[in-house]
């Protein structure tokens, strides 16, 4: 790591979108020959910052300098040719082309307009050798694992005399061996003097490879730290924002009384797991119990929820519903057993935007009844009326397209969709993300009411405070593994959960 001039500086970057201030005077420095981790939770502004850096977004204020000269990229191509290359999580290459071609397409070596395949292959081999990757450059990219594809993407990025390499969550779908190889390449490139900006959600990886860390929270800069001077716990605190949470928690009511956990559990997952999604875990949920899932973004929270709903199929372990072993092949089975699921991805997996509020609300119940047994209009009106009132959905007109509603109200419509089916277990994945504070408290209150009424709830949230306030039991996930389950009594607070997230099961002892 050179201590002198940074190769790239971003100073006082601000960027707003309608209704959101995504970045608020954020600074970032990258030095030649360092791996720099960019950390932050959902909505912290990481993606926006990268998009500003690579010229996808312009800035409202602030400057970017590269090698001391102020730059303002108008697009990824311009950034790339200036030496700032980006490799995204979803490898943006063409799997139908050969490895060599993926590295060089758009700037193939040519003679008289004809692509020189031999030359291209030779150069591709040389470049990959630099990354310690010995593969057939003639083979189709799609025939290789995602890890190799990622490395090929990096090869493409560094071939253009890259000074700065941005790796946006490159490891999220790699296994341990693949990650190790990626890290070896990263270290080598670092030693060659390239500045690497590394975005990831895995704490271990940050400590394994990063020299320095910049933490963002809610679009603001929390700080820049040397990795070895920042303990994991402090990092988690800085990402989640501990000081703030402690204050907030005072007005909340921790759920002291524990629901009756005797008898056969409603849902009993035994060593349930799915390769490259989440390691096998065991979890029981009883009637009337609120189970919170805590963990950082990408820790496997959503994957657990999807397995319990049958949205993804488990390839390991067993699930029992009221003691009966049940194979969840599709959501239909889960719904039939009284499970409901609100996805965190409201737009892509929740609402049907063109349909009206009413239609979106009755969709799940209608699906369960089958199309031959339509819900009578009067019954529809009753149900919709009741939930529009109960959840105070605005506008209260059930016939407007749901796309016209605000995020919070769309979320309430989705809640209503499941409440209408009268589920015994409701899985809520980030139900309060991206909605205003009023709607947020209403949803929290609703969850408590439902649980008092005997419904079990699996509550997933990035905000510990919310999880603590609502849950009887909290399962903590870390790097795709369920590392602890804590009964939410007085001994449990945000501090303790953060310690578990930071240190894993070793800190808490054996998971229950």
């Amino acid at each position: 790591m050179t201590g002198s001039q940074p190769v790239l500086t971003m100073t006082g970057i601000s960027r707003s979108f309608p209704g959101v201030r995504a970045l608020d005077t954020v600074d970032l420095r990258l030095f030649a020959g360092e791996v720099h981790a960019l950390m932050g939770e959902n909505g912290a502004g990481k993606s926006t910052l990268i998009k500003v850096l690579t010229g996808v977004y312009g800035v409202d204020s602030g400057t970017v300098t590269l090698d001391g000269a102020q730059v303002s990229f108008t697009g990824p191509m311009q950034a790339t040719s200036a030496g700032v290359s980006t490799v995204y999580q979803e490898v943006n290459l063409c799997t139908n082309l050969s490895v060599a071609e993926n590295i060089f397409i758009g700037r193939e070596p040519r003679r008289l307009g004809a692509v020189r395949w031999g030359e291209m292959r030779r150069r591709a081999r040389a470049l990959l050798a630099r990354l310690d990757l010995d593969i057939d450059v003639n083979a189709q990219l799609g025939s290789f694992s995602l890890a190799v594809q990622q490395l090929v993407a990096i090869a493409r990025a560094i071939d253009i005399e890259a000074r700065v390499l941005v790796l946006d969550e490159p490891t999220s779908s790699l296994d341990a061996g693949e990650v190790a190889q990626l890290f070896r390449v990263m270290r080598q490139l670092r030693d060659e003097g390239i500045a690497i900006l590394f975005v990831t959600h895995f704490l271990d990886q940050v400590y394994a490879v990063a020299d320095r860390i910049t933490v963002l929270r809610n679009g603001r800069l929390v700080g820049e730290y040397a990795t070895r001077e920042l303990p994991q716990l402090s990092l988690v605190e800085k990402m989640i924002g501990k000081e703030l949470r402690v204050l907030e928690r005072l007005d909340g009511q921790p759920r002291a009384e524990v629901a009756a956990t005797a008898g056969v559990p409603l849902l009993d997952a035994r060593e349930l797991g799915r390769r490259s999604a989440v390691a096998p875990f065991s979890l029981t949920i009883h009637e009337g119990e609120v189970v919170g899932l805590a963990g950082l973004l990408g820790s496997g929270r959503t994957e657990v929820a999807r397995l319990l709903f049958g949205a993804d199929r488990a390839d390991h372990g067993e699930l029992r519903v009221r003691g009966t072993p049940t194979a969840l092949r599709s959501p239909v089975t889960a719904i039939d057993r009284g499970v409901g699921f609100c996805s965190e991805n409201r737009r892509a997996e929740g609402i049907v935007p063109e349909l009206s509020v009413r239609e979106n609300m009755i969709l799940a119940l209608q699906a369960a009844r089958g199309w031959l047994r339509p819900i009578p209009r009067r019954r529809q009106d009753e149900l919709v009326e009741r939930y529009v009132q109960a959840l105070s959905i605005r506008p209260a007109d059930p016939d407007v397209p749901v796309a016209n509603l605000s995020g919070g109200n769309q979320q309430k419509v989705l809640l209503a969709r499941w409440l209408i089916t009268e589920p015994r277990l409701l899985i809520l994945d980030e139900p309060t993300r991206g909605i205003d504070i009023g709607a947020k408290t209403e949803i929290q209150r609703l969850v408590a009411q439902l649980s008092d009424g005997g419904m079990a709830v699996l509550f997933i949230s990035a905000e510990l405070e919310e999880v603590l306030r609502l849950s009887h039991k909290i399962a903590v996930l870390r790097d795709r593994e369920m590392v602890a389950q804590l009964t939410n009594d007085s001994s449990v607070d945000a501090d303790r959960i953060m310690r578990v997230i930071a240190a894993g099961a070793t800190f808490e002892g054996v998971p229950s």
């Binding site: 209704g19 909505g43 709903f309 699906a367 339509p374």
Partner: protein, 356 residues
Amino acid sequence: MNSDRSGARALTGHRLFWPVVVLVVLLAANTIYRPGFLSVQLRDGHLYGSVVDIVRLSAPLILVALGMTLVIATGGIDLSVGSICAISGAIACLYISRQPDQNSLGGVLTALALALGVALVLGAWNGVLVAVIGIQPIIATLILMVAGRGLAQLVTEGQILTINSEPYKAIGVGHLLTLPLAIVIALAVALLIAAVTRRTALGLIVESVGGNARASRLAGIRSARITFLVYVISAACAAVAGFMMTANVSSADGNAAGLWVELDAILAVVIGGTSLAGGRFSLGGTILGALLIQTLTTTVYAMNISPQTSLLFKAVVVIAVCLVQAPGFRARFVRRRAPAVAAVTAGEQPKEQVPA
């Protein structure tokens, strides 16, 4: 004043506004060219007139387009309807031609049932390819589009199969209660489909699958069954249209019957405001679209322009309607003023930056 303007905008912004305008203009042009155009007479207890003719001639297209509407609403497409028209028409005619008494009602009904049965099997074939094997609809139905013409010719043995059956002929040119029977049939099928989709939850579920397939799956909809079903319905509609086409001329031509009807049907659906991407569908809009296409053809005939040249006008209409409905075109040319564009980008960006 202000509300007037917004009312006017709501009107022009309605998805069927432009199709209706074009239809009215066409009718007006015809009336100017031939003042008696709009008049309808009652002769021998039957309604006659150019307008009645237009509706009668558009009946097969309406039928095919109604089935196509459901397929397109699920986000699919059915290219094989023309072939299915030809096959079902050919089978019905073949069966009748083999009857000792071609005028026997029982024989005709058996022929219809037989041909309809075959069409249902062909629809099921399409449905299996799309819903079970998971082949792209446009590719899956292309197979039957190509092979189906051959099958139809196989049935007729390459001949134009002429029959002389009054009951069968009635499907195309007969009358019922002063109205041409074809119109009555098209109306009945339209009402049946409307009832099946809107009186049950089929319409809602089709729109849900086409509008957001992932969300529909998570809401517990078994979309494979629904997808399968719409291809079967589409084939059934095509079969009835095939009867009508062959009955019109009392003969079955495996090569020519229903030629290009799939393209006209898709066009009618698109003009009717159903998006090719799937989602909300409008049966009324589709019928309007089919009427518009037939009016266009009839107008061209009436103006003594060569019938094939009507394709030129059709091309213009296709492009115009698609452009007016295309978001890309709207953003560029219609309402150059900022708000519309800003609203689009505003909708997109917060979504992008959520996973920050």
